[in-house]
Subunit: 397 residues, 2 copies
């Protein structure tokens, strides 16, 4: 756990990354490699290495020993490269075709080499551009159901499950979520970042002890409930899409946490996108949320009926209770996500791209209202069909 920067580790550059790929035999011997760093460079270096003869290309991702978004002063374990590559392999086994294929990983250099998905687009961008994504919701619903069910105590023998919990201990990355999603946005903390016009709404949130009590309970779930191997950062920026394909990337936040967290982050980011749209363009997003949930719950239920090894699975009501609890948690986690993307450290283009400025402030104020109500009223929401009306009502002022 918490592998520190080793003495053999060094950050690659375009030339050394290409040389490494060649040395590893990842390309034909007579290939002519070109390499380009394409990452945003906050946490990782990302190189695209292309054989200009065949056109074949791969992605080489290397973890950096710090988080650049807040300066080099926030050290971050390189062990997350191990977490990421092993999570990709596990997810590929459980949800074939829905993650990039890993062809090499190396813990010393904190490197993962994988399939190049440059023919696809990040789902957040595609949603902002109002692209038609007919398979996104179903494929993400299926991805979540299969990766979460088959790493839970419902599917695994106790020793195997606990061995995985140990393998995916990820305290550094969990700490980021504990702080930036579940804590800082609910207090007047230095890491928060928002327009001055939002201060009254932020202060109203910080003074709302009811929402803070609910946020405390959701944070405790995240800290203590080791249900299943989460992706851990399943927002729309962690998904590549086309009209046909869906590929989930970047599972460096993977760890054993509450099952509702992944659906919550995904639904939360769909709601952030809905907020950014005019009312007449929102229906497709609410339909996507419904399809996500119905695919998730149907796939989870089918896996439960076919493969549960938990003796109590056969008990009347246990599956329904489990799905109901996951949905309630997901709605609460979605509320936390909507709030933290509005006033916390890490923003989303869906909201930050809204023009003009006055409209952006108005939508972000609505986002805070929506987040609060999702958190506080999650017990009353029992199925995703209620969300559209709930959303419209929540943002009315």
């Amino acid at each position: 756990m918490a592998l520190a920067s080793s003495s053999l580790y060094e950050p690659l550059n375009e030339s050394s990354a290409a040389a490494l790929a060649a040395r590893l035999g990842l390309f034909e011997t007579n290939s002519v490699l070109q390499c380009e760093e394409i990452g945003d460079g906050n946490l990782n270096l990302v190189f695209r290495i292309t054989d200009s003869k065949s056109g074949h290309s791969l992605i080489l991702k290397q973890a950096l020993p710090y988080a650049k978004v807040i300066g080099e002063s926030w050290p971050l374990t390189l062990d997350r490269a191990r977490i990421e590559s092993s999570a990709l392999v596990k997810q590929a086994e459980l949800a074939p075709g829905l993650v990039p294929e890993v062809c090499y990983s190396d813990q010393t250099l904190a490197v993962t080499v994988m399939e190049d998905l440059s023919h696809l687009q990040i789902a957040r961008k595609a949603l902002i551009e109002k692209k038609n994504l007919p398979h996104l919701a179903g494929q993400i619903g299926s991805f979540m159901a299969r990766t979460l069910f088959y790493t839970s105590d419902f599917a695994l023998k106790p020793h195997a499950k606990k061995q995985l919990v140990l393998q995916y201990m990820n305290p550094d990355l969990c700490k980021i979520t504990e702080d930036l999603v579940f804590t800082d946005p609910f207090f007047d903390h230095d890491s928060n970042d928002f327009e001055p016009e939002l201060r009254p709404a932020a202060e109203a949130l910080w003074a709302d002890s009811e929402v803070k009590l609910h946020a405390a309970k959701l944070k405790k779930k995240f800290l203590t409930e080791a249900d299943a191997l989460l992706h851990g950062d399943l927002h729309t920026g962690s998904i590549f899409v086309s009209e046909e394909e869906t590929k989930v990337i970047d599972p460096e936040f993977a760890f054993f946490g509450p099952i509702g967290f992944d659906p919550g982050q995904f639904i939360g980011n769909l709601l952030l996108n809905a907020l950014s749209r005019e009312e007449e363009d929102q229906d497709v997003i609410f339909e996507a949320i419904e399809k996500t949930w119905y695919t998730f719950s149907a796939t989870f239920a089918a896996s439960w009926k076919q493969d549960s090894r938990e003796r109590f699975s056969e008990v009347d009501g246990y599956l329904d209770h489990t799905l109901g609890q996951i949905f309630e948690d997901a709605i609460g986690f979605a509320g936390c996500e909507v709030i933290r993307r509005t006033i916390g450290l890490a923003h989303v283009e869906d909201l930050d791209g809204i023009e003009p400025y006055e409209k952006r402030i108005q939508v972000k104020t609505s986002a805070l209202e929506l987040g609060r109500k999702l958190i506080k009223q999650r017990h009353n929401l029992t199925e995703p069909g209620q969300l559209k009306r709930f959303f419209r009502h929540a943002i009315l002022r």
Copy 2:
């Protein structure tokens, strides 16, 4: 995790145990050591080594690589000796004076050498003998509050807490509890053990899908909620007492689980003792349960107010919610304990010693009723003062 029997491990006998103690310098050089094996030999060898000149004595406990209670065919990791000795050291640090002092531990031989507590009596025996134990409830309440609070996310920084979770991964021993407490007694399983006259009541339990749904939820908490470092087996047979002293022993089941489990097992075993008594002798037990809970909650609350590092601790209602949830869980876990000690594999002398036989069957039938109602109605019990009336009502037929 799951350290197998090493080639250097061998079970000690009275002679080699004394020789080891001498070699380790645990006694004066001119001492004359006598050694006696005093364990029940189910899971461990327990030697008392006495210097017949000074009268000074120590206990040397060695884990066996199997559970003898069900034959040598159930292998059990020797790693539990590491868990036990390190848990005793951690508990001594957090709850001074309430556990035996450890003077030596050795992972190769799976040995822990500790303070001899032979001047004390096992609490279960003392309760069966209706001894006056004025400090038991308060000291156990305090022990639980301090060991549980100070190993939780409320007190520890996230990395330190997750490091402890890893250190106390204990899958072999957890599996015993998962099976024998939370699963087998709720089904017609081979491991169950009860008098033929109890079969109708056992079958009624197995046919009660409401209680099974609740048991499933409690089992899931045990499997997934890593709140704090539990003792993990805090029944009255794991406690040495006198009128003045209380010492908690045998934490080989220690792991990070739901906080309510330790108070639940302790309260469950007090209720088992109450069941064994005539009504006029039960009040002292209900008073002990109340005192246990009030000492636990007052100590937990004081620690929370003084030492919580969780930002949300200051939020109105969070402490009350946390204590309320612990109490509700504890009542459910107590119900599971009452049931499994009645029809499961491991019985208690409180019930098995009841004479005549007809009376024993009658009390055990009441125990099953009580256990079911504790599990099903735990949401309605909000404070321990309600338990006496609840108990009397539950066992009325």
